[in-house]
């Protein structure tokens, strides 16, 4: 593997997240876990990951009850080579409130990444969820794992 340091790891994670449109979101409520596929965007500093969701969904309900969340982004292609060629990154964090002005900036960032979701974003029953990320875990070559803490 290439020599890994904080900057290399940061760039590798950012490239991986930028290469994928979707992530698996993990939530839980009352000890019951749940996983959902969501379209995500990350801030350039990787300190926040955002996604849109109808307010009636189970994931939204779960996050209201427990704001802790995890995302999984990976570049596997459903081929046998994925086991050693694919990389995956897990991000863990907590849902955070954002001001209206921040929301505007984040929504712009999000729609730049997913322009086809503009009408979905405009619906009054769609919520923009912002998760403040505390840590990333990158897995490559099957089992190598590196951890990056996001500076508070």
């Amino acid at each position: 593997m290439e020599s890994m340091d904080a900057l290399t790891l940061f760039n590798t994670i950012r490239d991986l997240i930028d290469s994928q449109r979707l992530a698996v979101l993990c939530t839980q409520k009352d000890g019951h876990p749940y996983a959902s596929l969501v379209a995500v965007a990350a801030t350039p500093e990787l300190d926040r990951i955002i996604f849109l969701t109808p307010v009636t969904t189970r994931k939204y309900d779960n996050l209201l009850a427990c704001p802790n969340a995890a995302f999984l982004v990976n570049n596997s292609e459903n081929r046998s080579e994925d086991i050693y060629q694919a990389a995956a990154v897990t991000a863990t964090g907590t849902v955070t409130d954002v001001t209206d002005s921040e929301k505007l900036v984040l929504k712009t960032l999000y729609l730049k990444r997913h322009p086809h979701l503009a009408s979905f974003a405009a619906a009054p029953t769609t919520a923009l969820v912002c998760v403040k990320i505390s840590r990333y875990f990158l897995v490559n070559r099957f089992q190598n794992v590196f951890e990056l803490k996001v500076k508070p």
């Binding site: 593997m1 890994m4 904080a6 875990f137 099957f142 794992v145 590196f146 951890e147």
Partner: protein, 732 residues
């Protein structure tokens, strides 16, 4: 596609599906040359086998576990061994096996054959894979042929083939292999012909041996060698070797047999035969349009061409990759036997004697000029034995590899390293040293007064039994200080060893884990025919000795090195003493190891490097899990002790996890204190792994860049089953 092609089928299928070797054989017959009866299992059969059995996915995982250019030659060998075992343990899919068995029985069931590689791209001008892929001689029966076909396929991933393909830029994953099956010509004499001598383009070259070509190809039999003028074919010179042996077909393969006197005295080719070889070779050069490397044989007066390929113009041997040299050290059984006799009966006794002779001299009695001469002498003795180490001891370590391969072929175990069980617990010198340390530690454990004295004063009364036993130990193994000091200077005296013994005494004794390989040994021997039992036993003995000496030779070399360091240390003491200004001490300052300025600079550099590493360590980034290779089963958790410098060993305490670039056999006295061993260097057969297994410790090798990611004091878990090192981080 038909799974077995005859000559016409080979010509029709073409080179891409039959490989260069098979295609050339067909061309040879087409052009009227006498060739053995020949068939080919084309590449689509190999590809179907890989896809249908799922082996290709397993190969992919093996090849991608670690970046190839980060693998040491030992790791490449390990990868190759594991892949070979996939092929050994995975039979052909039923319908394919049935079909091939039928056609092979019809074609060649009543005579022995050679089963040879024929990969597309092999034997071509720019990428000769001569000797990298496997060939097997004297194979009989369809079932045995099919087993050997799988081994030929596996040789696409031989260690040397993996390395050369990388050097030549060829894809490993997309490689394919056809197999050539040829009637085995018994051979009165055989050889090779170069229509252009690779070393002199104005010449042709013939090399010939009695019997089969195998002895020549393996380098076990010195050939007669004729240099011919490329212009007119005239013999320029004949080099006659000492002819003692030839290789002939024997039970289950080939064997080395002594030549009768009348053959030993006679060149293996007569002049008329030389002409025949030359004329055929020149004709082949004109047919294929470029200089040829031709293998041929004579049997009952008839000349056969066995193979013709372009002379390679460039190979990986041209590169400066040291791994190529290591992988070139393949040795045959006969070659290793000769080497063993030399090492065991001559070199090791000489090494022991050399260390003893050096130890007889009382350095403090020497005049300064005599001390200078003594240091020079010791340096020369040490340099000599380092050369011997590389020339003879390292190649002999390949006896382990040879035994492993033959064990796996015979027993076909699911674990490709099962053979190691038969080699371990065979009395390594380093294990004996550690056992003596345990006995000394037991003296301390059972004598609180002695423990107190050693702790407070660092030494025991001279008349104490402990002191006498310690002296005996130091006499045999040294005081261990050279491996815990700076490497340039030994902390002469008992300090280092007392510290280690106190650490030993603080915990219960830990002795090597006994193993009972009786059942495995029986199964191994049972897999050989009665007339091959002696060979099987001899091979096991060779493997065990190779395993033992791989470690012991370093201990012996370490003793000589320690004698050199003693003399250097005496020089240092004189230079820093009250008489240091004396003129006759000047000679000491000219000894590189005693160059005070260089020593100071070296010490500073080491310290700065270690300090900087800590300073720039970024706590926002952490390796959580690092994958290497499982090299010792078990799982253990403990505090990391990262060894960047031999001095780091002195602080080693019970229960720590030893993490280092590579364990030198002279360092392995700390292993009984360790909870687990992790090495950045890879391979199942490296010293740390060998000793860790002797003590039943979890061991992971080939943990890439682990010294960059883990610091002394980090809490780690070592999974020796999966080869994973996990660092404890804050809870998520």
């Amino acid at each position: 596609m038909t799974p077995l092609l005859d000559i016409q089928g080979i010509l029709a299928a073409g080179r891409q599906k039959t490989g260069t070797k098979a295609f050339h054989m067909a061309r040879l017959q087409e052009n009227g040359f006498a060739v053995p009866r020949t068939w080919c299992i084309p590449t689509p059969v190999y590809e179907a086998y890989l896809a249908d059995t799922g082996i290709q996915d397993r190969i992919g995982i093996e090849l991608n576990r670690k970046a190839f250019d980060r693998m040491r030659w030992e790791e490449i060998w390990d990868v190759s061994l594991r892949i070979r075992n996939f092929f050994l343990n995975t039979p052909l899919p039923g319908p394919l096996e049935d079909r091939l068995t039928r056609v092979l029985a019809a074609a060649c069931n009543d005579f022995p054959v050679a089963v040879r590689s024929s990969a597309p791209g092999e034997d071509e001008k720019a990428s000769s894979f001569a000797g990298l892929h496997a060939s097997f001689l004297n194979v009989t029966s369809s079932a045995s042929i099919l087993t050997h076909v799988r081994l030929v396929w596996a040789s696409l991933f031989s260690d040397a083939a993996l390395l050369y393909r990388k050097e030549l830029g060829l894809s490993v994953e997309r490689s394919t292999m056809a197999v050539l099956i040829q009637e085995l010509i018994p051979s009165d004499c055989s050889g090779v012909f170069f229509s252009r001598n690779p070393a002199d383009s104005s010449q042709m070259l013939i090399e010939a041996v009695w019997g089969l070509n195998q002895g020549l190809v393996d380098g076990d039999v010195d050939p007669d060698r004729w240099h011919l003028d490329r212009g007119n074919g005239r013999i320029l010179v004949h080099h006659a070797p000492a002819r003692s042996y030839c290789i002939q077909a024997g039970t289950g393969g080939v064997e080395r047999v002594s030549l009768p006197l009348e053959m030993a005295d006679k060149p293996s080719l007569e002049t008329v035969m030389i002409d025949q070889v030359r004329e055929a070779g020149c004709r082949l050069e004109s047919i294929f349009g470029q200089p040829q490397d031709v293998e041929w044989t004579f049997w009952q007066g008839r000349f056969y061409v066995l193979q013709s390929r372009a002379i390679t113009t460039s190979t990986a041997a041209d590169t400066d990759d040291k791994r190529t040299w290591y992988l070139s050290l393949h040795r045959s059984y006969d070659n290793l036997r000769d080497l063993y006799d030399k090492i065991e009966h001559r070199l090791i006794p000489e090494m022991i004697q050399a260390a003893k002779d050096l130890g007889r001299i009382n350095l403090s009695d020497l005049t300064p000029s005599d001390l200078c001469a003594e240091i020079d002498h010791r340096q020369a003795v040490y340099d000599h034995w380092v050369k011997v180490y590389w020339a003879d001891f390292i190649p002999f370590a390949h006896g382990i590899r040879l035994f492993g391969q033959i064990y796996n072929d015979a027993v076909q175990p699911s674990d490709p390293y099962e053979f190691m069980t038969l080699l371990e617990n065979t009395g390594l010198k380093s294990v004996r040293r550690n056992t003596l340390l345990e006995e000394l530690a037991e003296c301390i454990r059972t004598d609180p007064g002695l423990a107190r004295t050693l702790k407070d004063h660092g030494t025991a009364p001279p008349d104490h039994l402990f002191s006498r036993r310690l002296d005996d130990f130091i006499d045999e193994f040294g005081d261990l200080s050279c491996t815990t000091g700076t490497g340039n200077e030994c902390q002469y005296g008992d300090t280092a060893i007392i510290r280690i013994l106190l650490a030993y005494a603080r915990r219960p004794a830990k002795l090597p884990v006994p193993s009972d390989p009786g059942a495995l040994e029986d199964a191994y021997l049972r897999s050989f025919a009665p007339d091959r039992q002696a060979y099987a036993k001899d091979l096991l003995h060779l493997g065990r000795e190779s395993f033992r000496l791989r470690d012991d030779d370093n201990i012996h070399l370490g003793r000589i090195e320690a004698r050199l360091h003693e003399a250097i240390q005496e020089g240092q003491a004189r230079l820093s003493g009250p008489e240091s200004e004396q003129e006759d001490l000047l000679c000491l300052t000219k000894i590189p190891a005693l160059d005070a300025g260089a020593m100071a600079a070296s010490g500073t550099a080491q310290n700065t490097e270690a300090g900087d590493q800590d300073a720039v360590y970024d706590r926002w980034f952490q390796a959580r899990q690092i994958v290497g290779h499982p090299a010792g089963q078990g799982i253990a958790r403990g505090t990391a002790r990262v060894i960047r410098d031999p001095r780091d060993l002195t602080g080693f305490t019970e229960g720590e996890v030893l993490i280092c670039q590579g364990v030198d056999p002279n360092m392995t006295f700390v292993i009984p204190l360790a909870a687990a061993v992790v090495e950045e260097r890879g391979g199942m057969l490296i010293h740390g792994a060998i000793i860790a297994r002797e003590y039943g410790l979890p061991c992971v090798t080939g943990a890439d860049r682990i010294l960059e990611y883990i610091r002394t004091g980090d809490r780690v878990t070592v999974d020796g089953y999966l080869g994973i090192v996990t660092c404890e981080t804050d809870p998520v």
